[in-house]
């Protein structure tokens, strides 16, 4: 089975500063990795995904993430955040090309708080 650990429950940052939200995964098989964002009182929206190929993945709203197989990580980054990026961010994992389950397993979430 796959699992995900989001290392920070809350990340405060000032507007226009860079940010990194950390995610580590555990799996005995190849994986697909995802980042979702949840704004208050809303469902989850897919930010980006890693399926295969280039380890640097670009998503919506200026976010990007890098898949690091040796460190089993998939950290989310943005070079300059805006107030509107304040939200809950979830890392998720499913099986890859073989083995395991296609059902996404989610981390506990990281609350990104952007201060003016």
């Amino acid at each position: 089975a796959q699992s995900v650990t989001q290392l920070d429950s809350q990340v405060p940052v000032f507007e226009e500063a860079p940010v990194e939200l950390r995610c580590n995964y555990s799996s005995s098989v190849s994986v697909y990795l995802f980042w979702y964002v949840q704004y208050p009182n809303q469902g989850l929206q897919l930010l980006l995904k890693y399926l295969s190929g280039s380890t640097l993945v670009k998503g919506i709203n200026g976010f990007e993430a890098e898949f690091n197989k040796s460190q089993t990580s998939f950290h989310l980054r943005k070079p300059s955040v805006h107030i509107s990026d304040t939200a809950e961010y979830f890392c998720a994992v499913t099986k890859g090309a073989s083995g395991g389950s296609y059902i996404p397993t989610f981390g506990r979430g990281t609350s990104l708080i952007v201060h003016p």
């Binding site: 697909y32 469902g43 995904k49 979830f90 890859g96 389950s101 296609y102 059902i103 989610f106 506990r108």
Partner: protein
């Protein structure tokens, strides 16, 4: 293009009662999953429906049951409600998840269930 639609948006029930939540998947999607998101937690997988059958189930008791209709819409039923069932219930849809790699789910905004 309508996304995933859930109803109702909010619901208050008393312990011991039964509740039914409804979900219409995104157009073109045939697979529906249900998640429970407790306050401050990541979504926890309840079950997934495809071709009107429950295909996979998470670690939830039999009090949680579901149904999928020929038009792919779905219901989540919870019997004998407990205070601990208070949560945001999310419906997510995708296309043919069992037969193709998961390219990301589309989530609804959820139903906020409060059990008193």
């Amino acid at each position: 293009d309508a996304g995933v639609t859930q109803s109702p948006t909010h619901l208050i029930k008393t312990r011991g009662q039964q509740v039914t939540l409804r979900c219409s998947p995104k157009s073109g999607h045939d697979t529906v999953s249900w998640y429970q998101q407790a306050l401050g937690q990541g979504p926890q997988f309840i079950f997934q429906y495809y071709e009107e059958e429950e295909r996979q189930r998470g670690n939830f008791p039999d009090r949680f049951s579901g149904h999928q209709f020929p038009n792919y819409s779905s219901e989540l039923n919870v019997n004998a409600l407990l205070l601990g069932d208070s949560a945001l219930y999310l419906c997510a849809s995708t296309g043919g998840a069992l037969r193709r790699p998961n390219y990301g789910y589309t989530f609804g905004s959820g139903t906020r269930l409060t059990v008193v």
